[in-house]
Assembly symmetry: C3
Homo-oligomer: 346 residues x 3
């Protein structure tokens, strides 16, 4: 039911400590994350193959982890390398190991067929660790199907209604975005919104270095299962932003919003809002982070309430509107991948 | 499974604020209650037809409500009157609207076929808003099937056991009530209990204006799904109460107990205890209210515990006793209506 | 699914008060426990046959219990002896009564066919109430299938991993126990472990009366459904313990660990650790009790976590290891009894 052959985010780098064991449920599976002796992230099934004890209650020993129920020891490949009181280790004594790549401060995990995992398919989020950009990493836990969050991110009309005092301006409600679909590979959507000669949203005003009307943009690429990367900003109206000129006082942001299903009805959500100005202004970093959190909590209240209503009557039909173009395409891309995987297994 | 073609209580009038949006689940359906610009109560399905967002997180605009997820606006009939960014409104873009009548300080709602809703079928509770009576409205939430509360209200032998220090006297255990059934319309039961030359229950003693033995009555009409209206009181023994004389010092009360299913296993319960004496004695109003709450919490503890036991072994049989006459008739009336509705749909 | 024709523990004697009513769910059934006027324990179904109200909210009246919903009164055999307002008591007006035997400070209950209940089948735990032994009774509630606790108790390799600072020593991991199976009656397992010339575990050190290496033993009998009784201790190394000599300074303990299923996924657990030295040293009694609780909480954290992982993917296979010999035999004995009961009912 979930797309499996895809790179998912498992954690921010700082969530997986240098020592110690970190656990998280992803796609309904218990996953153990830790770092080997060289600091490389390792992801194993968080379930000892012997009696299903969770390995995160165990102990890291060098590159390995030992289950602290009966002492079985597993290496980073998931192979059991020690069974106390037993000389022979049958080959099936192993736990699942997941391909992991750490890049741009994110720990990416592959939950599907390991043979299909190619690191070059991981999308670029250079603003997470480039010296020219600055961000503070964020995480939210959601009591909702990750696809309801995708719906939200693919439809920017909600900015006007859910976020009138933070991210949105009233112009968001009516503006039609340009949506371009690319079906190569897992597919992607590029959504472009320009608000010309418009007001700045409050979130921009608080860090602005100029006054007056703006030309404002939100240009983002969404890739399944649930990765949104956005170029967004405000430049003085008429300064040429739509034509590609970004004057020095323009506010330029890069935004990341990524979800991974925890279960059918709960999700993980990683996000950040990077900027390329006043990099050493820690107060500004913190303020932008908090502003985004306030806006994202507005979304969460709505989406979790929506999820509850949906679960009361899961079969009641939904009535589409014109603004659904983006989310419909995202759902179509997700469903296409789920069906393709189901077909290739059959 | 629930009776649908019936008037249910949705709220006390004061629960639905002059401004703002109020939500409540009734018969497993999310319901939005609000007042239009003239103060009239409106009840809509609390689920936007677009993406199932709950409307109570939206905003009242004049007589309408706007969903604050994507901005769809609905009028009191449930019709969508605005879709941001879209000129055409397809006719199926609507939410369910429920017939509502506000009477005697209660907001009544019809959850069944709107064509069958007739305001004249709503029972009279004049003591709620008559200048000659005084009450304070009460509400309890129950973790139990509403029919277990009906059982409780239809069997007054429990007064002796559950409420020995509040509503009951020991005579309640053995006294046989007179039960009259009327099957016209949705049916009703009239239950009459007279306790002659008896003790006053504590609840009466605390507001009494005379001492000594009493002739005491509980005469109530119960109508499905779950409406109990009672004439109750104590008069000096031998002063002619059973023959219809109510001397000035007699304590006369009117009591209302009404339930509406929230889900199969949870219920709403509205109640009040009105009196026709010392109307301006606010302390007495408050004291009677609190006494009733104490007694009703005694019931709630028992009934919620009973519900838990029943859910542990739902198929274990129950053994009837003679005192069940009233509740058996009420259950028969409820079942008859449920079956009739199922039959008319088939 | 549960073994029914077996003696289960329902409570420590002190859990069932001289007056008052005590309730506990056993094998998914609500059970009422109380003492009659002579102090004898009585066990009834905690569900009035009339309307399923729980009897523990009722009132003890002499040897009987009265339901405080509608006043039905039941004697210790479960027969109804009074129905208020009704002269005749139909014979089916009764609740289930369970055979109960109080022995060695435990209240044993028989949840199966009463005709098969023989008090002589109850195992002996003389150290609970012998004047030559001293213990403090313990109880833990578990969020886990009782069989996961059985697994734990039948495999002492976990002592080295789960309890390194309390019960275990590193030698526990590799030592092979002798396991003897007796299939007579309900069957039993006798498991013998000797650690010769070994370290004392910390739990022994804290009450030791000698220093140096020890010969240490754990000899226990396990009987289904879930009763473990153990002779355990440490004697000076070479003082002849394995040959049957127990020198005066030897530390001798008797341990009891008994489980009863509450539901499929929750359990009751009674335990104690008796000693035959320094009987009047109350501080030592308390200290041993607390040390055991610390160790048992180590188990509980692991087993409840294991249960959670198992419920996430109940059908994932488990990989056996050599150390499973004991638990496999216990599971075999349990399954044999469950199947035998299913067969005799068919």
């Amino acid at each position: 039911m979930f797309i499996r052959n895809a790179w998912y985010v498992a954690a921010w780098d700082i969530e997986v400590p240098p020592e110690g064991l970190f656990e998280r449920t992803l796609l309904n599976e218990p996953v153990l994350l830790y770092r080997d002796s060289q600091g490389r992230a390792v992801a194993l099934e968080n379930r000892c193959c012997h009696r299903a004890a969770p390995l995160h209650l165990g102990r890291k020993e060098g590159d390995c982890v030992r289950c602290l129920y009966h002492g079985l020891k597993f290496d980073p490949s998931g192979a059991c390398v020690e069974i106390p009181g037993q000389a022979q280790i049958p080959p099936k004594t192993c736990v699942r190991s997941y391909p992991v790549v750490e890049r741009n401060r994110l720990v990416w995990i592959w939950m599907g067929d390991p043979a299909l995992a190619k690191a070059e398919d991981i999308v670029d989020c250079f603003w997470h660790d480039s010296p020219e950009w600055r961000m503070k990493p964020g995480y939210i836990h959601y009591q909702a199907d990750y696809r309801l969050i995708v719906d939200n991110l693919l439809d920017f009309t909600h900015l006007a209604w859910v976020h009138p005092t933070t991210l949105g301006t009233s112009s968001a409600a009516d503006l039609k975005p340009r949506i371009e679909r690319d079906t190569a590979g897992n597919g992607s959507l590029t959504i472009t919104r320009w608000y010309l000669d418009d007001e700045m949203p409050n979130l921009h005003k608080r860090v602005a270095r100029f006054e007056g009307k703006v030309d404002r943009w939100q240009i983002y690429q969404w890739t399944p299962p649930a990765v949104l990367r956005m170029d967004a900003g405000s430049a003085p109206a008429g300064s040429g932003a739509p034509q590609g000129t970004r004057v020095p006082e323009a506010l330029q942001f890069r935004h990341t919003s990524i979800q991974t299903p925890e279960t059918e009805h709960t999700s993980h959500y990683w996000f950040c809002q990077a900027r390329n100005f006043e990099l050493d202004n820690d107060a500004m970093t913190e303020q932008i982070y908090r502003d985004v959190v306030v806006a994202f909590e507005e979304d969460r209240a709505m989406i979790e309430a929506q999820q509850k209503v949906m679960r009361q009557a899961p079969d009641r039909p939904l009535v589409p509107i014109a603004a659904d173009a983006g989310l419909n395409q995202a759902r179509w891309l997700i469903d296409r991948l789920v069906k393709a995987e189901a077909g290739s297994q059959a």
